[in-house]
């Protein structure tokens, strides 16, 4: 029962739901090309071909982190377009991947759009909080954003799978080369936004040198992330056992203990700065 329509619908729904990011450890699974390959393969009656295609796509995206919610490229979108191509049209995995990876870049844009629009819901929640409307807040935190996502996600995958590779290729030839390249450059830069946000949230100047040491240790020695983590943890423990940074002892105490400082002052130290970053007074 190999139905192209069914494949297109399932893939479209899959993209919608996985990119909607419901279930923190669920979506990491749903977005894995390996897993997608396996499931779509099952649907098409050929799980072996499916998982092989999925695994090949997985390799391209190994080690990705989406700091601060900024995905450097949308591997689920790529997989949901490439895997069906391989299953349904006997396209070679290599070719399918090379078609799908640029499409994945479009997923990055959609994700950013979504995070613009999501501001609507947090503003509505601000109002509902005043009324103590717990249920309303929940709806704004879950169902509405998910619903909004459907409009932005389902069509692209459905169309691509239903009308097939030709359409995609035409589409890609229309887009000028520099736009595609620019989008892949953006994929390399987006994590910078997330890392900078985290650094900003950690915030105290005393910690900044550690950032540089971590950065250049890896640049010069080619240490893996896990190797860096070992040294980082040990350095953190040693510094902390030695008494840490004295200036911060007072400061954090002031922020978190109530007697020693007036509420106003405490409040200003971190949260306000962050509020300004986000654009609210």
């Amino acid at each position: 029962m190999q139905s192209v329509l069914l494949m297109a619908i399932v893939s479209g729904l899959w993209y919608w739901f996985s990119a909607g990011l419901a279930g923190y450890t669920l979506f990491s699974m749903l977005k894995s090309p390996t897993f997608i390959g396996f499931c779509l393969g099952l649907l098409w009656g050929d799980p072996i071909t499916g998982i092989m295609a999925g695994g090949s796509i997985e390799v391209v995206y190994l080690g990705l982190v989406a700091p601060g919610g900024n995905i450097p490229s949308d591997k689920a979108l790529a997989a949901l377009i490439a895997v069906p191509l391989v299953l349904m049209s006997d396209m070679s995995v290599e070719l399918a991947v090379s078609v799908a990876v640029p499409v994945g870049a479009i997923g990055v844009l959609i994700n950013n759009l979504r995070r613009y629009f999501n501001a609507i819901f947090v503003h509505r929640a601000d109002e509902l909080a005043v009324e103590g409307d717990v249920k309303g807040i929940w709806r704004n935190a879950t169902w509405y954003p998910l619903a909004l996502g459907f409009v932005m996600r389902f069509p692209i995958v459905f169309v691509a799978n239903y009308f097939g590779a030709d359409l995609i290729n035409q589409l890609l030839t229309i887009i000028p080369e520099w736009v595609l390249h620019g989008m892949s450059v953006m994929g390399g830069l987006l994590p910078a936004l997330g890392f900078a946000t985290t650094i900003f949230m950690i915030g105290k100047r005393e910690y900044i040198p550690l950032f540089f040491i971590g950065y250049f240790l890896v640049e010069y020695s080619g240490l893996t992330t896990i190797g860096a983590a070992i040294f980082g943890l040990m350095i953190a423990l040693i510094i902390s056992y030695m008494g840490g940074f004295p200036r911060l002892r007072g400061e954090i105490a002031a922020e978190s203990s109530r007697e020693e400082v007036s509420p106003k002052t405490a409040r200003r130290t971190n949260q306000d700065a962050i509020d300004e970053m986000m654009g609210r007074k």
């Binding site: 419901a22 923190y24 450890t25 669920l26 897993f35 998982i51 092989m52 390799v59 190994l62 080690g63 990705l64 982190v65 989406a66 844009l109 629009f117 999501n118 819901f121 947090v122 929640a125 909080a129 005043v130 103590g132 717990v134 249920k135 807040i137 998910l146 520099w178 390249h181 620019g182 450059v185 390399g188 910078a192 890392f195 946000t197 900003f200 950690i202 950032f211 640049e219 240490l223 992330t225 860096a228 983590a229 980082g232 943890l233 350095i235 510094i239 840490g244 954090i252 922020e255 978190s256 203990s257 109530r258 405490a266 409040r267 971190n270 962050i274 509020d275 300004e276 970053m277 986000m278």
Partner: protein, 273 residues
Amino acid sequence: MESNNKTQLTKRDITRTYLRWWWTAEISNSFERMQSLAYAASMGPILEKLYGKGSQGLKDGLQRHLAFFNTQAIWGALIIGTTVAMEEQKASGEDIPDETITSFKSGLMGPLAGIGDSLDFGTIQTIFYSLAASFAVTGNFLGAFFIVAFSVIHFFVGLGFMHTGYQQGRKSIMDILQSGRINAMIQTASILGMFMMGALSANMVRLETPLEFNVSGSVINVQETLDGIVPGLLPLAAVLLVYWALKKDKFTLSQLMVIITIVCLVGAFFGIF
């Protein structure tokens, strides 16, 4: 200082709060306030139970937890678990000011984001997924298994963090806050988190320039020249520039996203990147 505790939270309450957090954490993520809506939505039912439906305490609580928040959600369960305990004590009459709760959240979210991103996603998930892919490409179904296994384990780690946070908070949050142990914890986490942000930036941020200058015969390859000075200058400059823009209140996150998009496209158009 025995408390006039009205409502006692059960283990199930904590687990359900985790499930809410686990489910919503990323759905409503926005450039403006990231996970704040998810935090408030997850805390909602607990606040209702503690302060009472329609009460002023509930309204205040919901607004309190709509403040900006962002972290890696699994390690973040430690934070949400502890704040549940704080709210419980506050509701029972302890004098815990809003600022204590808010600054506890904002003090730990950064370090735990750094640790969670680098450890869980940069390291452990990468190991699982590499194994998965190496099986998958040979058509071995074990590939899919490793993907599922990571999700399941990761789920339960988060649940464990949640209960740990709550227990610690219940037992000793007042002690902890006063003794400075919380401070040592935040410092250790911040150091590790910041170090890992550096390590991860070096591994993940990518920016190169194909520019070449041809000055009366000699060709200067800009990227090679930069690498000759210090490796990784451009990605580092990118991170620092964004940091600086945030720090100096120059731009909001949404504006920066637009700027980055434009810079990348324009740069690509003119062949700078």
